[in-house]
């Protein structure tokens, strides 16, 4: 059904749009595959769900929306994630 929404009621595309939160990042988490035990802790706790789980049960970090909070690095029991300062603002 087509809704007759234009300006009748506040619904529709007038909301907030996706924010490029990747630009907020001052430090980026880098995962050391050699140290990673595929435990999934980073996957559980990433607040933006930037950690992706793959079919082989491995995990990688998608930086598109990662805000660089450092939770994954802090929670990792195997020290496999390190927070590295972002170099300049090349992607800004």
């Amino acid at each position: 059904m087509k809704y007759i929404s234009d300006y009748i009621v506040p619904i529709g595309p007038e909301g907030l749009y996706i924010i490029d939160t990747g630009k907020w990042r001052t430090r980026r988490p880098e995962m050391d595959i050699m140290k990673c035990k595929k435990c999934g802790t980073c996957f559980l706790y990433c607040p933006v769900h930037a950690v992706k789980r793959h079919e082989d049960k491995s995990y990688t970090i998608d930086y598109t929306y990662c805000k660089g909070c450092g939770i994954c690095a802090n929670e990792c029991r195997f020290d496999s994630i390190e927070m590295i300062p972002e170099e300049g603002d090349s992607d800004a």
Binding site: I11, G12, P13, E14, G15, L16, Y17, I18, I19, D20, T21, W24, G40, F43, L44, Y45, C46, P47, V48, H49, A50, R53, K57, T64, Y65, K67, G68, C69, G70, I71, A73, N74, E75, M83
Partner: protein, 301 residues
């Protein structure tokens, strides 16, 4: 299926790029619970952090991909009750869910929530307690811990002040409504949280209530990478224990292997940094006595 497989399998219901603070564990909470709840859900986001960060977006462009709306600060449960009554009236099953802060739940919205709980409106109400009006700049609320700095319970230059009153024991208030299901959650205990959301979804004879203790990084002064660690400390110190109440029966869900002092939890938060030893000791005593009461309730079965 383990928790990792389960969560990976389920669709992300909140769009990326919402403007929650860096490291916000409420963002983690809403993303997690919405994955469990799935698309057959109508979501209410009253004024508060999750409204402010853009969860009430539109059409898979931003915010929630489920139908979502802003109720008023003080009528969340009643509006949801009305929506649920409509779907019951036409015989359609839908999860009707609130994701509301402590202000909209324990303070301004308490009357409506209490009414809905008493009437047995079949809604799922999730309260994220970040101990204050964080979206408007960290003002105190009824659930702010005693002694905490907030913008309306300031600390003097001499280092005295903070909130003078005790924290309202909100999960206990809801449990005493004798609703079919009440549980406390914590973002450091994701599996426990997912289990509880599933149990709450299955409730068919009344209101289900989930209480999530969410330390607020910005408002409390916690380092962003300690977001989960500090939340875990609240549980491990028995300050915010994990328990559930199913049809009046209390059950403890987690017993710390080694209980840590409340001081350890408090030390994560700048909002407690002015507290002297006596004040911290008082918090410890209160935590101990509440923990003791909870244990007794759980022993009663």
């Amino acid at each position: 299926m383990n928790i990792y497989e389960k969560l990976a399998m389920q669709e992300e219901m909140i769009s990326p790029g919402i403007s929650a603070c860096v490291g916000c564990n409420v963002e983690l909470t809403i993303r997690t619970v919405m994955r469990v709840l799935g698309p057959n859900t109508i979501l209410a986001i009253p004024p508060g952090c999750m409204g402010g960060v853009g969860v009430v977006g539109w059409d898979k462009k931003s915010g929630s991909k489920t139908p979502v709306f802003f109720p008023l600060l003080d009528n969340v449960a009643s509006m949801l009750a009305g929506i649920k009554l409509h779907y019951e009236h036409i015989g359609q099953k839908v999860n009707v869910v609130a994701f509301a802060g402590d202000g909209a739940s324990a303070d301004a919205g308490l009357q409506c929530l209490s009414g809905a709980a008493e009437r047995g409106d079949k809604i799922l109400y999730i309260c994220y307690d970040n101990e204050g009006y964080m979206n408007t700049g960290y003002q105190r609320s009824g659930t702010t811990t005693k002694g905490a700095w907030t913008s309306t319970t300031p600390v003097s230059r001499q280092g005295c002040g903070g909130k003078k009153q005790d924290k309202k024991d909100f999960p206990m208030i809801m449990a005493m409504h004798d609703i079919p299901y009440m549980a406390t959650c914590n973002p450091a205990f994701i599996k426990d949280m997912v289990d509880k959301v599933e149990k709450a979804m299955a409730v068919e004879d009344g209101l289900a209530f989930l209480y999530v203790y969410n330390p607020c990084l910005t408002g409390w002064g916690i380092q962003s990478d300690k977001s989960i660690e500090s939340a875990r400390a609240a549980v491990d110190s028995n300050f915010a224990p994990l328990y559930e109440v199913i049809n009046g029966t209390f059950k403890l869900n987690y017993q710390p292997k080694e209980t840590i002092p409340v001081k350890n939890f408090v030390s994560y938060c700048k909002k407690f940094s002015h507290l002297n030893d006596l004040e911290i000791e008082n918090l410890q005593q209160q935590t101990d006595s509440k923990w003791h009461r909870l244990q007794m309730l759980c022993e009663m079965g």
